[in-house]
């Protein structure tokens, strides 16, 4: 019995906020399609409530037995636009409600997959789904949505980018917080257990268990032990810590899959912050040697962090997938909020950081009067970074009506609070209004 190991593990949970962020059950809805949206909705409700009926109980039991908190139990489903090909924007809402009702029935925290993949163009169902978003996201509570507008293979659908800017504005007009439940992706991944972007890809099996692990606090604590040492040591320390964290995810995922009688998919090792002090990616970057996140050197430190996390995780799990890396949301990270308030962290620097982090511009509040085309232009920039660099990027931006730059907006719980950030006043409208398709980059032609 090695008491040092025991103490280390207990400290990670009790003092460093280590948690399994989520056990996410992916469920295929491809066999639920009926003759009408109502019939499909009934099948969806039945399948989700049958497959996931023990998910929460099993999660809680594992939590108790292993002493590691499992913060969320979630479900991801096949992008709904694929099972609603003939529905219009009103008919498709019955599916949003079926997901919401099913999720509440089984007691999960979120259900993701009210999604459409439109990087190459819109199908009838895709358009219906996107147009239904303002109503769907305000009438339901736990349904999460994602729209993929670009990929390295397909390029960027600028019409979709334009439409999503308008949609985000329309959602804001109904609710200041509903946009936190929707993300616009480029290169979306099919096995991501994290919200708002989780959906169950079409190439996935009928049902699967994916696990999302977090733990920026644990990484920060480990780095405190190597103050002043070379950056090589920093990278090694992050790798070793990521390895340990991922092993726990692997164990929890294996046990959960076995008890639920479902195949185990992947561990997504993402440093996902929460608003709690000591659970912050910004603080990890500062521990590497930055006075405050957002200053010069931030992108380099983040690149090292993101890469070392992936390297440590890959060896520790049978299958690493999802987004794996470091998330840099503003509202969910105490250190990011401080840096924005202090004027150290700007939107431009955040954009640069998204070229090396695991996802993109996340949980950023902007003034409510920001023009739809400007939001679209932000999405286009992010999509460009993702498409050109073969990485996932995303925008989850929160225009807030009546708020001006510097105001604090509260989103509640894990979503935190965000300071309203300034946007560049000059127009991008003529660019976005061109519409059409940004061709795939030359390096996508690999066949």
């Amino acid at each position: 019995m090695d008491t040092t190991q025991i103490q280390e593990t207990i400290q990670m949970v009790k003092e460093d906020n280590f948690d399994i962020r989520t056990i996410t059950m992916g469920i295929s809805l491809l066999d639920t399609v009926g003759g009408s949206a109502e019939e499909t909705a009934k099948n969806v409700y039945k399948k989700v409530t049958t497959y996931a009926k023990n998910l929460v109980a099993v999660g809680q039991q594992i939590e108790r037995e292993y002493g590691v908190p499992i913060t969320n139990k979630r479900i991801s489903v096949t992008p709904v636009s694929l099972i609603a090909g003939s529905a219009d924007e009103k008919e498709i809402l019955v599916l949003a409600h079926a997901l919401d009702d099913a999720a509440k029935e089984v007691g999960v925290d979120f259900i993701g997959g009210y999604s459409a993949l439109v990087q190459k163009g819109f199908s009838h169902g895709d358009l219906a789904l996107i147009k239904s978003l303002p109503t769907a996201l305000t009438e339901t509570d736990v349904v999460m949505s994602s729209i993929n507008v670009g990929s390295s293979k397909a390029g960027i659908n600028l019409d979709a980018v334009k439409l999503m800017g308008e949609t985000i504005k329309a959602i804001t007009d109904k609710s200041d917080t509903a946009n936190s439940k929707m993300v616009v992706f480029a290169n979306a991944v099919e096995d991501n257990p994290f919200m708002a972007g989780a959906f169950h890809g079409v190439s996935e099996p009928d049902v699967v268990i994916n696990v999302g692990v977090s733990g920026p606090g644990v990484v920060k604590r480990a780095l405190e032990q190597v103050k002043g040492e070379s950056i090589t040591t920093v990278a090694e320390t992050i790798k070793k810590t990521a390895f340990k964290i991922t092993r726990v995810g692997q164990l929890v995922g294996t046990v959960a899959a076995e008890r639920l009688g479902v195949p185990f998919g992947i561990v997504d090792l993402s440093l996902a912050p929460t608003p709690a002090r000591g659970d912050s990616v910004a603080e990890v970057l500062e521990e590497i040697g930055l006075e405050q996140v957002g200053t010069h050197g931030t992108t380099a430190a983040l690149m090292l962090l993101n890469d070392a996390v992936k390297k440590g995780g890959v060896m520790a799990s049978q299958g690493v997938g999802g987004l794996s890396g470091a998330f840099i949301p503003v509202s969910e990270d105490a250190g990011m909020i401080d840096a924005v308030k202090a004027g150290t962290l700007s939107l431009a620097k955040l954009e640069a950081m998204t070229s090396v982090c695991s996802v993109g511009l996340d949980m950023i509040a902007i003034p409510g009067e920001t023009d739809a085309t400007k939001i679209s232009a932000m999405i286009a920039d992010e999509a460009a970074i993702g498409v050109q660099n073969n990485k996932t990027t995303a925008v989850r931006i929160l225009p807030t009506n009546g708020a001006k730059v510097g105001d604090m907006v509260d989103y509640g719980g894990l979503l935190g609070t965000a300071p309203v950030m300034p946007v560049v006043p000059k127009s991008s409208a003529d660019f976005i209004n061109r519409g059409g398709h940004v061709p795939a980059p030359i390096h996508s032609f690999k066949n």
Binding site: Q5, I6, Q61, R64, Y66, K244
Partner: protein
């Protein structure tokens, strides 16, 4: 049999070992190994125990939590695999 690690941390006082051991014994839990020290007035103990049926885990868990609050110390019980997994490939 499943193996679990019981850890006890708190202000030192008479009867902690006896109290925890009694609870374990009452539930038929076998103590396989133990280690205990006092670090600046703080009592810390780790025990490796064997529990016969997986179903008994919840009962042992609840009984230890109750004993912990009676003694005013923090008691955790966790399945042993979590520690093994993290430190070994």
């Amino acid at each position: 049999m499943i193996k679990a690690v019981v850890t006890v941390v708190g202000q030192d006082q008479t009867g902690i070992v006896a109290g925890v051991a009694t609870v374990l014994s009452n539930h038929g839990v076998n103590i396989l190994d133990m280690s205990q020290t006092i670090m600046s007035q703080t009592f810390t103990m780790s025990m490796l125990v064997g529990i016969d049926e997986a179903d008994d885990f919840n009962e042992v868990y609840a009984a230890l939590k109750e004993e912990g609050s009676r003694l005013g110390v923090t008691i955790h019980i966790q399945r042993e695999e979590i520690f093994d997994t993290m430190a070994h490939i």
